[in-house]
Symmetry: D2
Subunit: 383 residues, 4 copies
């Protein structure tokens, strides 16, 4: 009898936002069971979190090191198989490294590490261990984003000419970090977030989305980062001109001070023969634009899709809206499937059941370094 | 140490649509564990389903009777506590009755029974046993629908004057039931669906939504049901004029032959001082209309909400779209909470953590009988 | 050298809403010149209106009778050729009759007359004189409505099964007529508006739109009219079940108490093979729904249109929004063209340059009588 | 008795797009009468155009010089008072200069001239003559754009931080200019369009819109212009980072190769306390975003507007969509009013009845020179 994939979690205590998201995403499809955790540096908090999650108290650990050590002592059919890392950026690398070196597959929040050096190190470790590493760039999990990727790959739009990717938020329009709000606190702190706030946190999502959907690489950029809120140490807004390896041009902007915006990530792509538009606000629609025909709207679960990628990552019929958690769950579901395949020695179908991996993490960290460099020097830089 | 609520399932074998939906809804919040099932009348199918769900093979049962009997023999801290019923309409009453009479709480798909007589019987049994009974009228689970309900209750719009509730689908535009499609097959069969197809399946959702949000009761109606697809035995479309107990007037229509529509349930309500509009397609928005001020758009997770009902049933911050599965999960989550409260002898907070119950099921069956009567006689009838 | 068509106007003094709309609509295409008017029963007001319109003071008339008499004395190449009637309902019939009997073509606001008897009389006079009579059911002037009509006529959607036509407004949610607002004043007054307020004023637009686009006739209806605002003498809201001559079913509702709605006329039509949706709010789009293909959006001025009717009634390229005045202007432009053709003895192309005529007016008045009868008797009636 | 303002037109022959637009815009409000024209370099064409416009044949002129000379010979109360210039860019300066120097007011299409030198020259002439000069940057004519301007001016959003202005079109995605299409032909020809195609034609609209609404000036920019269609001599796409005089940052992009886009000009502006969003596609709505309150939607003709500018430039009640021609007409109407005021020696109210003037033209030409310079050097430049 097969079992669910057993998972341990690093980070994600009671008042963390993203830890709960990871757990719901892991739950939806019933493929993964959370069995243990080191949820907080405060052990009492970890114990309380474990209790609310109905975990065996003996598997609430004082630290990720203790968790990895403790779980290794359990029988193979009980011990955790994968580690989910949901801590702030500066606490990704060490637990990921230790987990991989001890034979555990890893699924990690983005951006992958604190800086590019760590990302490159981690890439080596992943390659050496041959284990599965997933990075939760959520937006790649949306069925209509997968459809967009395969439509472009099919050549339907001809050569891609222009890409506009946006990620405006407004939640840091004021000095929220001084109010004790934890999410704002670490993201604006250079010792925990790294050299960028806005670009590291959500600019990397935009960069990943643009490269994922187009299949292209950004090769040059010119960035204009700003810190609008007084006293803040890192950027809270950034506008970037981008150029791609095929000659396409584009714009990427991300913001945490676009007052009134929620989490409005969106992308538009234009090729020689047509284009497409997707926005998270209406994530179940993908607008297809034609040169000389009326626009069409593809829909999650709807007719006329170009490959199996979208339907294979859809749960309910068209018109029953799926959302953010389902997109997130697609990463967990596909990661779990890849882990099963790995354990059985089978090849995983990365075309239909894909998820972002370590190399996407490295691209993201390179992007952050380059936008900061370009903006500080006021020049175009190569990436 | 507390445990998850242990659930058994009746129906929901491999190719059923709604069984998988119930399971995902039950999974999301990590409050419920599926422990057993009688998924199909075909035992082999049940066993295969159990396997894909990682269940203990000994808890895959040949029938719901066997499941109830078998589980009762297990120790209290192992046996299932609740039964989820996801079979076609004609197979709701019997398992619900047996489960309740054996001390198991029940969560049941809609419409609650095959006919009004059964619904009234079941209502008696629920009252006699004092157990928790939840009916999965999904649309009441949306945060913005809960907000709508409490805004109206607060008197913000004054006396309600007009209600328009719509539920158009297009999937039965052709004779799909002759193709072997299981969903179409039983819904168009009077021996399994009851006296109505369209009105029973989705008209009841519309009726429930209108009464839930307004807090009013339909007292009179004039219906015009149609069967547009040749050879079909039950209605596939219906238009209904409605009158409410406070003097409000309205329109309810539902359709399975609105070619090109997916699952476009929506509602508009107008009072003396303003109104509101909600549609499932954009379920995270609730448009508030004012007499002499610009319209506003309330958002799931956003500012300006009027009660705790919406935020308490929201999982992620504004701008991270929630959808159908999360609305469904709110019913399961609140049901699980009510079961826990029941077991601890605590009063459940039905204002904040509400879910549809047996009386909503009775209203639905009464509605179905009345629309069929009105339409066949071509007259207004009292409800 | 050709001249513009010379027009006289009855009604439309300074504080009238619809008179100014007619004049702008007549102006846009430069085909018509306003040369005279009897704008008000108050001659001073008429003189002032004439002055602001840069008219020759000698052609500001004390009454429509004086205008018709006065203009007839002018040389043929100076006198007005057509009369535009923009008075309240009870003042349509008499000036229209007199104008036609004196050889002037007529363009008249809707509903065509005060009651059905007048409408039938007027129909006779139009036929007898052989002159051009246009009725300003504005919504038929929208390019995308014309496209909808010809798509349905082409058989693209197969047999039509269901029609939903809505016309909600909120401006009469309060007792506005007691404030001296002129538009509210006459519309709610049975001596000037006739037997219906809401159904006469905008219900007739909805009825006309449904019959225009589908090419079908309503044959039976069941109406539920209401007067929600205390002290009001006529209906301010109405819901109607409708049946068409081909077996299609539908819903028509109109309201002046849908608080917060502006002027939200819209229509949805479903056939065996697909359907369409149009709303005035987004008048330049026509959503085409298919059974097994993604929806498409046709656009004013855009590609993929099915006949010359839409492009021939479009002024600017796709993406330059046209609106209400342009739709209205299409009626004036096509009326002017028909008048020219009539004067030259040429056949007018009513397929491409159509406008509503007297028979649409008769249908509207019949509709008003029937909805009032059905509602007062609480029964279905034949139309 | 007052007369309409008498207008002559330079350019705008039969197959010109923008000439007809100018005429319809001038017609709508009945304030202006077209009395003469030099519509084409081909006199026969001019004569035919004059005939279709019902002009006196003696006032169809062979050239703009002839028109100015001819009209000057007519009595004051007959001769044209204003000249409308609707020729390609290289033919703006000379007729504008001659008209102004002969005492005629001028309304001119954009961009104002062929290059910056001409623009600065023309600015001098306008100042010297003291005559009225209007530039048809259409988008400033939309009521909701005027509302946006005055909301920002009122300080409602605090200091402005970020501006995103976009103008994507797709009509030049292919080599349309080689097909004989006249609009494509001259716009892609450096001898008629100037140093830029996309940025001159529509980038200037975007620049004007951003400066108009914010009341700010662009002070620095970094542009990336492209020519995607082979054989084309000028840019057909451009992305620009912008910085404003108050420290705000922004993005401006315009494109003629965004395949499938129609004419999708839009703007978003964010300040310390909120923001706004407007798009031409839905020109009658202005979305107001707040930091801690639900978004609101202001509407043309609707409640809650902040100044007289929007209502004074609106013709019909809320819900009767106005569009591109009405926005264009607002420029003509306000220009006509300014001309009347000028002739009467009255001060014109530029707050309520504003229109773009020569200085906006100069800014546009400066913008074009600077984006071309920045892009060719691959650096930030000051503006």
């Amino acid at each position: 009898m097969a079992d669910k994939i057993r998972m341990g979690m690093v980070g994600g205590g009671a008042d963390a936002f993203i830890g709960a998201v990871h757990r719901m995403a892991a739950n939806i499809d019933g493929q993964i069971e959370l069995v243990c955790g080191a949820f907080s540096s405060n052990f009492e908090k970890t114990q309380k979190t474990a209790e609310t999650l109905f975990l065996d108290p003996s598997r609430a650990y004082k630290s990720y090191e203790a968790m990895i050590e403790g779980e290794k002592k359990l029988p193979l059919n009980e011990r955790m198989q994968v580690v989910s890392i949901v801590t702030p950026n500066h606490l990704h690398y060490a637990p990921a490294k230790l987990a991989l070196e001890n034979g555990f597959h890893v699924i990690c929040d983005k951006p992958v590490t604190f800086n590019l050096t760590e990302a490159l190190e981690l890439e080596k470790i992943v390659k050496q261990t041959g284990l599965i590493f997933a990075l939760t760039h959520t937006y790649t999990g949306y069925p209509m984003i997968k459809e967009a990727k395969y439509l472009i790959k099919s050549g339907k739009f001809g050569k891609i000419r222009k890409v506009i990717v946006e990620y405006p938020q407004g939640w840091l329009s004021t000095n929220l970090e001084t109010s004790g709000q934890k999410q704002a606190d670490w993201r604006t702190d250079p010792t925990r977030a790294g050299i960028s706030c806005c670009m590291g946190d959500i600019g990397t999502h935009a960069e990943n989305l643009a490269e994922y959907v187009t299949g292209l690489h950004i090769t040059e950029l010119c960035a204009d980062l700003s810190t609008f809120v007084e006293g803040r140490l890192l950027d809270d807004d950034g506008n970037v001109l981008i150029r791609f390896n095929n000659g396409a041009k584009g714009i990427l902007h991300a913001s945490q001070i676009s007052a009134g915006e929620e989490n409005n990530v969106n992308i538009r792509i234009y090729g020689e023969k047509g284009g497409l538009m997707w926005q998270q606000k209406d994530n179940n629609s993908l607008v297809i634009m034609h040169l000389n025909r009326p626009n069409e709207t593809l829909r999650t679960g709807g007719p006329g899709l170009s490959s199996m990628a979208a339907p294979a990552n859809t749960r309910v019929p068209a018109g029953h809206p799926e959302g953010y958690l389902e997109a997130f769950a697609n990463i967990y579901k596909n990661f779990a499937m890849a882990v099963r395949n790995h354990e059985k020695g089978l090849k995983h179908d990365y075309e239909t059941f894909d998820f972002p991996q370590i190399q996407e993490g490295v691209r993201g960290m390179l992007f952050v370094e380059k936008v900061v460099e370009s903006s500080s020097k006021n020049v175009w830089v190569k990436m």
